[in-house]
């Protein structure tokens, strides 16, 4: 008995002694617990996901920034002025842009920023051009192409090649010369030469665009990156992301230095850069940790071990009433979620989704959604308000077309679809000359498993469509993301849902993926949409991006928006807003919808209440 009592006392002593090591409030350390994944790379030339963009945001600076988070107010950052036609830094035709570079700015290693660093940043990124990366945003305005492969083809090289070593070195040199000529250093200025006017070019270079983070040429070369030699660049072309110099390193001019990326612990440690050109940040240490389990994140927030956490929209009610926790919601985002239709659906091997492949009541034909009446009927069958209120919990706006309403050149008065089953029935009756109404149809509509909000959206559609006519059968099917990707590639999904996050705040960034024949979604929606886009949209989109007169741009994008809605190309159904959840001791929170970073930590401080 004595032994048992002693054991119990020992256990209690142990518990109390270990609890004594709990960390006290530390005003200089900020801990953000994310749950949305870890960064894929820290190299600005390759990073194209928000988790990577967040870390890059703190380590690097861009030439420009959004002042106070206002997308309409671009101010200088590593530049000293924002080029405009009025101040003479931008040519009348918008094709030559001169950027004066700030002097005396230091990198984390103490070296001083020069215009050569700025040129190296962009040229190196274009020459590296990792597949699937963000560098198309430099190629398009500067050279009118999308990739380095296109540049090689442009100077007489092969249209396609398996390995760059197959390409003639003389061609590679020509390709280099073309890229190099797009950016010029003139004294303390850097001059960008655009192939055509490109109004959002300054946005592409602005903070929030991790791809345009300025790197140190000297440090990069010393650490094994491209050495600046025109004849050797191919060695660094399209490397695997883990082989790129900045994959797990960081050397910028930003307010925080990279201490370590602890991959096994899924966390990144940053420390204050005391020589930051705008003055040191208030926070000394930053920890960004990824914990996928919400319950664990929630307990850390409650205990004060996390200063801020990621909370999914559906979990928001669980944090609203926690004492000492601040929820900032309704923050605008420039993105939208869209239900797409495939205009030409393959039948063979796709029977689980298209059934018989015929208009016989047991399936759908390949051109089912090529009939505008079917698309319109689907658009009228969806209950947008119910989704917004019940699923999105009020966090979002009902769209007016493919362009989020907070962008410029969007017609907020555009008539859009609304929930009206009688109108849906009217269009179903018109479809296929009435044959559809008579025979009915059966279709499988797909979401990627795990995404309950998208599943519910499809269930709303299923319920409404099936209530219109008993011969209409809609089956909501969950597929693993890998399978969804495979089926997207072959445009095999009759209906699918995707979101589009803005790269830069301009309508063009939505017009291309949603409406251009070579855009991201046209490829997933079948040849029918590609043909339609070529015929009706491509020319307008090209005119929209080349126009420098805002009135002209507005006219073009209004027309694109009208055409998209009128023809029900797809069904945008929510423009979600976002939120941040933090302890109330976090001060100085400022939001910018263009930033990947959840918190602009330079402005953040901690004050215990």
């Amino acid at each position: 008995m004595k032994a048992k009592v002693c054991s119990l006392i020992l256990l209690l002593t142990l518990c109390l002694s270990v609890s004594a090591f709990a960390a006290p409030f530390d005003p200089e350390t900020f801990i953000y617990v994310s749950g949305a994944g870890s960064p894929q790379t820290l190299d600005p030339a390759a990073a194209y996901d928000t988790a990577s963009g967040e870390i890059i945001h703190y380590i690097y600076d861009n030439l420009f920034t959004y002042v106070g988070g206002d997308l309409d107010n671009i101010g200088p950052m590593l530049a000293t002025e924002v080029p405009t036609v009025a101040n003479g830094l931008m040519s009348e035709d918008g094709r030559t842009i001169r950027v004066p570079i700030r002097q005396g700015v230091k990198f984390h290693d103490g070296s001083v920023l020069t215009p050569e660093d700025v040129k190296y940043t962009f040229v190196r990124a274009m020459l590296a051009d990792p597949a699937g990366g963000p560098i198309w945003m430099f190629f398009e305005p500067l050279l009118g192409v999308q990739t380095m492969r296109d540049v090689i083809a442009m100077v007489g090289g092969p249209e396609d090649f398996a390995d760059i070593s197959e390409v003639d070195p003389a061609i590679l040199r020509k390709a280099y010369d073309v890229v190099d000529a797009t950016i010029e250093v003139d004294g303390n200025d850097v001059i960008f030469h655009l192939v055509d006017p490109y109004p959002p070019f300054i946005n592409i270079l602005t903070k929030g665009g991790s791809w345009a983070s300025i790197v140190s040429k000297q440090w990069m070369i010393a650490n094994g990156a491209w050495d600046g030699n025109p004849d050797t660049w191919a060695k660094w072309y399209d490397q695997a992301i883990e082989e790129m110099t900045l994959y797990e390193k960081g050397m910028g001019t930003g307010p925080f230095k990279l201490e370590t990326w602890d991959k096994s612990g899924d966390q990144i440690l940053l420390s204050r850069f005391d020589d930051y050109w705008q003055g040191p940040a208030s926070l000394k240490n930053v920890v960004i940790k990824n914990i996928p389990e919400f319950a664990t994140r929630l307990l850390m927030l409650r205990a004060g071990d996390a200063d801020a956490i990621y909370v999914a929209q559906q979990d928001l009610p669980q944090v609203r009433d926690i004492p000492g926790v601040t929820v900032v919601d309704g923050l605008p985002q420039i993105n939208n979620t869209v239900l797409f239709f495939s205009f030409t659906i393959p039948i063979q091997g796709n029977e689980d989704l298209v059934g018989s492949g015929k208009l016989d009541g047991n399936g759908i034909p390949s051109d089912f959604f090529a009939d505008v009446n079917v698309r319109k009927a689907f658009c009228y069958a969806f209950d947008y308000e119910a989704y917004r209120e019940e699923v999105a919990l009020g966090a979002g706006e009902i769209p007016k077309g493919p362009f989020p309403q907070s962008l410029p050149y969007v017609n907020t008065e555009q008539e859009y679809y609304y929930h009206d089953l009688s109108k849906a029935a009217e269009y179903f009756k018109k479809a296929f000359d009435g044959e559809l109404w008579e025979k009915g149809f059966k279709v499988g509509i797909v979401y990627n498993t795990g995404n309950t909000a998208r599943k519910t959206a499809l269930e709303i559609l299923e319920y409404n469509i099936e209530s219109i006519n008993p011969k209409f059968q809609v089956e909501v099917i969950g597929l693993e993301w890998a399978t969804v990707l495979d089926k997207l590639r072959s445009a095999s999904l009759p209906v699918f849902i995707m979101g589009w996050l803005m790269d830069f705040p301009d309508t063009h960034n939505f017009a291309v993926p949603f409406m251009h024949s070579a855009g991201t979604f046209a490829g997933y929606c079948g040849q029918g949409l590609i043909d339609l886009a070529k015929e009706q949209f491509d020319e307008l989109i090209a005119a929209g991006i080349k126009a420098t007169d805002p009135a002209e741009r507005e006219k073009i994008y209004f027309e694109l928006q009208r055409l998209y809605v009128e023809q029900a190309i797809a069904m945008p159904y929510i423009e979600p807003t976002t939120h941040r959840v933090m302890r109330d001791w976090v001060q100085g929170f400022e939001y910018c919808s263009a930033f990947s970073a959840n918190f602009d930590l330079y402005n953040i401080s901690k004050v215990q209440k």
Binding site: I31, Q40, E242, L269
Partner: protein
């Protein structure tokens, strides 16, 4: 015995080649565009991505047998490939994550085995009495409880309410010392490294983070060991030699400890071997709930993202563990029961 061990070790490469071949055969059912999901992890990342470029870049369009041969060539050079889901080479991922799992398994094994055997002994000794019923119900509740539910209850109680045992492997303050200070990583096991670095504060912090996951694992496994120990004990208690021991006038304690329990331990040793293997292979749910970044979570994440290089690497590693632990269990038989001769 040495011949037996050598023969088993020779068998190892055959097992490993077999499991990797199985994985490659399973992979042949996946299209290149399914495999590219390793690089594009969600619909939101499907920006201006050219799926064909990614497929070509990572050689996903090559036939499975070519990929297998390439993988084998690299394996012979000691290169298990690069894991996209772990963001590091596979060997490094295993080397960094396994110590965490090993530490958890080491701390969990003692309470699991001791507690299970103790509960089993009590049940057998008090066969069909209230104590037997109580210990069985107690253990079976643990067996029936989903591990994520019990883990979350513990996390809520010991961290959310009492603030004693936080999730993760170390607190942030300790992590910053371990990651950026002069702290030397000898083994990757936080408790041992802390002692070797003479950092008692970090040692206690590491222990503090281990307690809740260990309790969760222990409670889940007790029922299993209790049942095996109990039935084995009951069987042995009816043997002639036990009756003889009692007839000789030995005390009940001596009879139970020396004659019954020792002989009842053979099946327990078998089960304990597979249990240790299970623990070393990683306990995905417990690792998820307690944010304990071990090898189980690593493998599960890799498999979900079709990160086949990681899955192959960890499978090889598990195969190695499986053969070695089974070998240890076989050797243990001989030690526990000298009548068992491995030859």
């Amino acid at each position: 015995m040495l011949t037996f061990i050598a023969r088993r070790l020779l068998f190892l490469p055959v097992v490993l080649i077999g499991v990797t071949l199985l994985i490659f055969v399973a992979m042949s059912f996946l299209s290149p565009y399914q495999l590219v999901s390793t690089y594009i992890k969600s619909p939101e990342e499907l920006k201006n991505q050219s799926l064909d470029d990614l497929v070509r870049k990572y050689g996903l369009d090559q036939p499975v047998h070519i990929r297998y041969m390439n993988w084998m060539k690299n394996l012979l050079k000691g290169d298990l490939g690069y894991s996209v889901s772990a963001n590091m080479p596979v060997t490094e991922a295993i080397a960094k994550r396994f110590p965490a799992t090993l530490e958890l398994a080491l701390f969990a094994t003692i309470p699991v085995v001791m507690g299970g055997i103790w509960l089993g002994t009590i049940s057998a000794k008090h066969y069909n009495k209230p104590l037997d019923h109580f210990s069985r119900v107690f253990a079976i509740v643990g067996w029936s409880l989903p591990d994520f539910v019990f883990g979350l209850i513990l996390l809520m109680l010991f961290y959310g309410v009492l603030g004693w045992f936080p999730p993760g492997r170390l607190s942030m303050w300790a992590d910053s010392i371990v990651l950026t200070g002069d702290f030397v990583r000898y083994t990757g096991l936080n408790t041992i490294d802390a002692l070797l670095n003479k950092r008692l504060d970090i040692f206690w912090d590491a222990v503090r983070h281990l307690i809740a996951p260990v309790i969760t694992l222990a409670y889940l496994w007790w029922a299993y060991l209790l049942r095996i120990t109990r039935s084995s004990m009951l069987e042995v208690m009816n043997k002639d030699y036990v009756r003889t021991a009692r007839a000789k006038g030995l005390t009940e304690r001596v009879v139970m400890n020396r004659h019954v329990r020792r002989n009842a331990l053979i099946p327990v040793a078998t089960v304990s071997g597979s249990m240790v293997l299970g623990l070393l292979g990683g306990v995905v749910i417990v690792e998820t709930v307690f944010d304990y970044k071990g090898i189980g979570l690593l493998t599960a994440t890799g498999a979900q993202q079709l990160d086949y290089t990681l899955v192959l690497g960890t499978t090889l590693f598990y195969g190695l563990l499986l053969v070695l632990i089974n070998l240890v269990v076989d050797v243990l038989y001989a030690i526990i029961d000298p009548r068992v001769r491995l030859e």
